[in-house]
Amino acid sequence: AQSVTQLDSQVPVFEEAPVELRCNYSSSVSVYLFWYVQYPNQGLQLLLKYLSGSTLVKGINGFEAEFNKSQTSFHLRKPSVHISDTAEYFCAVKVVNDMRFGAGTRLTVKP
């Protein structure tokens, strides 16, 4: 089965600084890639997804991610973070009907 590795379990950053949350995957077949966000005491919601086409994908709240097939990566970026971006972020990979998630990265934005 496919698998996902999120390289950082915690990322602290100051408000208005840029941030990158790293995600690598492994799969022997073509994949679909996703980033989900979970705010404190809430369910998961979709930030963005890569299905095909342009490798740079834009999502909600100013986030974007770039699919790099040769490096099997799908890193999430935001040029300037806000306090409200404090949350846990999950990278996920889907093959046909099977979807697997990474262990999550806790982003903490400090004033």
């Binding site: 369910g43 998961l44 997804k49 999950f90 996920a92 889907k94 046909v96 009907n97 979807m99 697997r100």
Partner: protein, 115 residues
């Protein structure tokens, strides 16, 4: 809007009890999933189902079983609950087939405590 509803938000059960977690989706999705979420481990797939009466094991099926008798409903069963099954359980659904890359939608989660 897609709605995935988990029947219980918070449950407390005793060791050895049989526990049922119910999930219903209203979008006629073929695929349904059960994950558990634990700090530092992310979401781990327990079972998924791609059709009525069909199921596939995920990464951690031991101690769990599932039932999908109707398309809209996917139940997770803990045959004999143990304390290491204390966790947040998340149900999800998604369409399948040629649009299998589509998003999966999550329920609010069920917090299960086994004492």
């Amino acid at each position: 809007d897609v709605k995935v509803t988990q029947s219980s938000r918070y449950l407390v059960k005793r060791t050895g009890e049989k526990v049922f977690l119910e999930c219903v989706q209203d979008m006629d999705h073929e695929n349904m999933f059960w994950y558990r979420q634990d700090p530092g481990l992310g979401l781990r797939l327990i079972y998924f189902s791609y059709d009525v009466k069909m199921k596939e094991k995920g990464d951690i099926p031991e101690g769990y079983s599932v039932s999908r008798e109707k398309k809209e409903r996917f139940s997770l069963i803990l045959e004999s609950a143990s304390t290491n099954q204390t966790s947040m359980y998340l149900c999800a659904s998604s369409p399948a087939g040629v649009i299998s890359g589509n998003t999966i939608y999550f329920g609010e989660g069920s917090w299960l405590t086994v004492v």
